[in-house]
């Protein structure tokens, strides 16, 4: 019987090669999208999966909630360094080893007489007991056991010393001399020991150096830090649940800070990137876990492809009803026919899967270069990938094949046969299926519009006052030799330099420190998060900020200078942006003179007074829930010099700046970047997101169009008689054209409109992630609708035109 199912399947597919090709194309596109989404989702959940003992290594995670239940820090896989000490002390009996991988701010590293800004991680004595990294040069045991040692990544070694073995070469890290004892072999991404666009890693340095250049804060302040990864190696065969349960009261026993609740847990090593990314993008608040989101979008495109198949197969089914009915009369049961037609669907999806594997093999190289994701590894080493892919194939088979199979095996088939004439009934469901396809495609198109709109707004913000007229000197300074003030003084008088200021953050970082502010001194009402920026007095004039109300900072005004304390307990003045003022319900004018309160370390509160409000001018990308920006005057922290160039200033000015900086310190490898360069660097992840989303939307639209084209073919075929009769009764070419066009446009139009509420909600959630977020107006919706209808018309217009132009005699002859 199976042979017959396969023979019939072949005949059915070969009988209508155009429809078969359309279905195959659509299913292949859907499955490729789903496979790439699945590969990416699994990639995010395979951090350091190739390391020995990876399945026994867990990171201690941390979540912080304020006394009033506000989430201060989502679950992140990094903690204060002090956690490692207490985990080892409390649970040594149940664990094999625990290590702190302490990541520090970029530090100045001098090698071969040149200074570089590199991102180190400090390892402790237990590191190699937990993590066993392969080395290209050096002995793993010795390399990580010597004091004052550094192990470089292969890229760092090459950039500092060129090709060759650098073992034994000296380095100076923030003034401390160390020796290179090893060079890491390349580590497969994703890895904690692999640089990404959002987390750099250049070299390991021994803990004794870290104690000198980046010491951990003493307790109790130590608990406020996010110092690094605390990695725990569990004994073989031991479930993490025991330690996870014990960590339940770890926070309560060790941390009594600001009445906050510290919750600790365990995250598998493989999930660390996923948990970190979810934390960065506020997955808890938005409900968008990145792997789930990716899988969801991939599944959405696959659903569109499956609906396309269901639609075309159902349209074809009308013509196959007599055949099915005859089979029933001859003794076929419903199950026989269901099996027959699902076999067709299965053969088609399996063929599509074979095509998909071929496509994946072809795109593996470019995809790896673009994303670090090794598709070959997914195909040959990840059973989970195959499980997801086969789930996709099975779902597409059932989603696409079940309805036509049900239709063809049901009572309509018998009726069509016994009646002796096939009823060319137009299925309303066909319109619904096309509509559903366009609903998915339209949703994705609107989201492409929203993401693109946000990118445009941010680009505009980056270029508006800054662009190529704002230059930041983002070189790590050895504070003892050269200070930010020295740099500002050195370049201030160069022709073409208008003004120089300082700020605590590089321009356009992804996110930054935040503080919660309250309207009342009892700090019990609604909290408003503000992104803290510490600036020099002339920052606003350099940035070209527009003052809306009040005044800017002045060095000679009492209270403008913020005390040099992380959480000051005395009052000082701040300037805020429009968004921050409005989050309290104030206009810029109303905000001036108001006090807002923040929590102090002792659990009390201290006020800051708003002295001015400026127009929104975001300098970070992600909002992390912040309502706006709070500027404080703190020249000592303005470590990044920012230079405004005069209009027309060109290469002469840049050369003069370079000469002045080299004169200031010839040892330092000076770097400067224009604001737009820094924006583009930070926004590269977002550009990738736009590209990925656009690709998904394009696939979905193409698939939906294939469905619409198929529906146009079957609709015009099945309405041939009706067209002939209408023409005989007096309908002209244009009446028929309008009738058919409207019938095919209707589902597209309704589906687009139906997708809008969901797209609006998703768009708002997406925009809320950004500091300078765009206002969600009608344009993404209108453009998406116009584009969808235009391409739908292009896809089906030819078919409708041909059908409507036929002579009535010609069309009725076929009936």
């Amino acid at each position: 019987m199976l042979r017959h199912y396969l023979v019939w399947t072949w005949r059915a597919l070969a009988a209508d090669p155009l429809t078969t090709l359309l279905n195959l194309l659509a299913l292949s596109l859907g499955l490729v999208t789903f496979a790439l989404a699945a590969a990416t989702a699994l990639f995010l959940r395979s951090n350091d999966a190739v390391l020995p003992n990876a399945d026994r290594i867990y990171a201690v995670s941390q979540k912080i909630t304020s006394s009033d239940g506000v989430l201060l820090s989502p679950v992140v896989p990094y903690t204060a360094g002090v956690v490692a000490k207490y985990v080892e002390a409390d649970y040594s009996a149940g664990i094999e080893a625990v290590t702190l991988v302490h990541f520090a701010q970029p530090s100045q590293v001098i090698a071969a007489g040149k200074a570089h800004m590199l991102s180190p991680q400090f390892f402790d004595d237990a590191f190699t007991r937990v993590v066993k990294l392969p080395l290209r040069y050096g002995d793993p045991e010795k390399a990580f056991s010597q004091p004052r040692s550094a192990i470089l990544t292969a890229e760092t070694a090459e950039s500092l010393f060129g090709a060759g073995n650098p073992i034994g070469r000296p380095l100076r890290i923030s003034g401390v001399d160390v020796t290179v004892t090893g060079v890491l072999a390349p580590v497969a991404a994703p890895s904690l020991f692999h640089s990404t666009s959002y987390a750099r890693f250049d070299l390991f340095v021994s803990r004794d150096v870290g104690d000198l250049v980046a010491p951990l804060a003493p307790e109790p302040d130590a608990w406020d830090g996010a110092d690094g990864f605390v990695l725990v190696l569990l004994p073989e065969g031991v479930s993490p649940d025991g330690l996870r349960a014990k960590l339940g009261d770890f926070g309560a026993r060790h941390v009594q800070r600001l009445k906050r609740t510290y919750e600790f847990g365990l995250v598998p090593l493989a999930d660390m990137q996923k948990v970190a990314l979810d934390g960065l993008l506020g997955a808890k608040a938005t409900g968008l876990s990145i792997p789930s989101l990716l899988l969801g979008l991939g599944a959405l495109v696959l659903l569109v492809a499956s609906l396309n198949y269901a639609n075309l197969a159902a349209a074809k089914a009308i013509g196959r009803l007599p055949e099915s009915g005859m089979k029933k009369v001859l003794g076929a049961g419903r199950l026989d026919l269901l099996t027959q037609y699902l076999t067709e669907s299965l053969i088609l999806t399996v063929t599509a899967m074979a095509l998909v594997l071929l496509i994946l093999a072809l795109v593996a190289g470019p995809f790896f270069r673009l994303t670090d994701i090794d598709l070959y590894r997914q195909l040959f080493h990840r059973p989970a990938f195959w499980l997801l892919l086969l789930t996709g194939v099975a779902s597409a088979t059932l989603l696409g094949g079940l309805y036509p199979a049900w239709l063809l095996s049901g009572p309509k088939a018998m009726a069509a046969t016994l009646g002796g004439k096939v009823r060319q009934a137009r299925s309303r469901l066909a319109s619904v299926l096309v509509g559903l396809q366009f609903l998915g495609a339209s949703f994705l198109l609107v989201m492409v519009g929203v993401v693109a709109l946000q990118n445009i707004v941010m680009h505009r913000q980056a270029l508006q006052a800054n662009g190529t007229s704002l230059l930041a000197i983002d070189t790590a300074l050895d504070k003892e030799a050269v200070t930010s003030q020295d740099v500002r003084n050195a370049v201030r008088d160069i022709p073409g330099v208008q003004a120089v200021a300082g700020v605590n953050l590089p321009l356009w970082t992804l996110g930054s420190a935040q503080r919660r502010y309250f309207k009342e001194a009892d700090v019990k009402g609604q909290a408003h998060k503000g992104t803290d920026m510490e600036i020099t007095v002339d920052y606003f004039s350099v940035l070209g900020s527009h003052l809306l109300a009040g005044r800017e900072f002045a060095l000679d005004r009492g209270g403008d200078l913020k005390p040099d304390d992380d959480v000051p307990t005395v009052s000082y003045n701040v300037v805020v942006d429009r968004d921050f003022a409005e989050s309290f319900g104030w206009t810029p004018e109303q905000a001036v003179g108001q006090n807002v309160w923040h929590l102090t370390l002792t659990g009390g509160s201290a006020p800051v007074q708003i002295i001015g409000v400026i127009e929104n001018q975001p300098q970070t990308i992600l909002a992390n829930g912040a309502s706006g920006t709070v500027y404080t005057l703190m020249p000592a922290h303005g470590s990044i010099p920012v230079i405004r160039l005069a209009p027309g200033a060109g290469s002469d000015t840049l050369a003069a700046i370079d000469r002045a900086l080299v004169k200031l310190s010839p040892q330092i490898d000076w770097h400067h970047h224009f604001s737009d360069e820094m924006f583009n660097q930070s926004a590269s992840m977002l550009n990738t997101l736009v590209a990925a989303l656009s690709g998904l939307a394009l696939f979905a639209v193409v698939i939906a169009l294939l469905g619409l084209a198929g529906m146009a073919i079957h609709t015009t075929n099945s309405r041939t008689e009706e067209i002939g009769i209408r023409k005989i009764l007096g309908a002209d070419h244009f009446v028929i054209l309008r009738l058919l066009a409207w019938d095919l446009t209707k589902p597209v139009l309704i589906a687009s409109l139906a997708s809008w509420p969901l797209a609006y909600i998703a768009g708002q959630i997406y925009l809320s992630l950004f500091t300078g977020h765009a206002a969600l107006g009608p344009w993404p919706f209108v453009i998406s609708l116009a584009a969808t209808i235009a391409v739908a018309w292009l896809a089906v217009g030819w078919r409708i035109a041909v059908a409507s132009a036929k002579s009535p005699a010609a069309v009725l002859r076929y009936e």
């Binding site: 005949r11 009369v329 001859l330 003794g331 049961g333």
Partner: protein
């Protein structure tokens, strides 16, 4: 073999109720050749569909070979149909994608019959209708008469107790019509019960018994003695 008692069949749409059969009672014995006649729309085909177990009556009792089949579940009806009943249609209803022999083999496939036996039976059926030389042709390559002979071969290949023929000569010229009638008569002589719907008085006259249906009811019968 067949006993219908007060069989009713009503079709319902949203606001219209159409009574196709109104209390039909009749008995058909084994080996009979019965012609059902009547004007268009009188319920002949509905009666045939009920007899063939492809349509359920909305009332009454239907006994087939002594078993009450009025309320059998679909699954058992399928089993009954494929074991005992063969069909011949006015429009042949051959499957265009299948060859002549594949069309004839189809009912045997649904009985999960071994391949060797299927092939043997198909050969016999083709011989019966004289189309061995057309075994690998597609229906579209045959004349109307030949197509109907294939349909007859398909109906008999499973060795059914009952053959239901719905206007089997309706789409044929007189010569081909006569050939088909001869085949049906031969089959009846070999013991197969045949129930045929026809508009043709001359073909009806070739049956042993005529049942006339009018407005969904059977009118008094006229029997023909051999």
């Amino acid at each position: 073999m067949i006993k219908l008692s007060n069989i009713e069949k009503t079709y319902r749409t949203d606001d219209i109720e159409t009574r196709a059969l109104g209390g039909v009672s009749l008995t058909i014995g084994e080996g009979e050749f019965v012609a059902i006649m009547g004007p268009s729309g009188c319920g002949k085909s509905t009666l045939l569909n009920v007899l063939g177990l492809v349509d359920r009556p909305t009332g009454g009792r239907y006994e087939f070979a002594g078993e009450d089949v009025s309320n059998l579940p679909e699954r058992q009806l399928v089993q009954f149909r494929k074991r005992h009943i063969g069909f011949v249609f006015q429009s042949f209803n051959l499957i265009g994608d299948l060859s002549v022999e594949e069309n004839i083999e189809l009912p045997l496939l649904y009985r999960a019959m071994p391949k060797a036996e299927r092939k043997s039976r198909v050969r016999e059926a083709l011989e019966l209708v004289g189309l061995q030389h057309r075994a690998r042709h597609k229906p579209s390559q045959l004349s109307g008469g030949q197509q109907q002979r294939v349909a007859v071969a398909r109906a008999v290949v499973g060795d059914p107790k009952l053959i239901l023929a719905d206007e089997p000569t309706g789409n044929l010229d007189s010569k081909n019509g006569e050939e088909v009638m001869e085949m049906l008569t031969t089959l009846n002589e070999q013991g197969t019960t045949i129930v045929m719907v026809t508009h043709s008085p001359s073909h009806g006259a070739q049956a042993k018994r005529i049942i006339t249906v009018l407005d969904g009811q059977v009118v008094p019968e006229k029997e023909f003695a051999l």
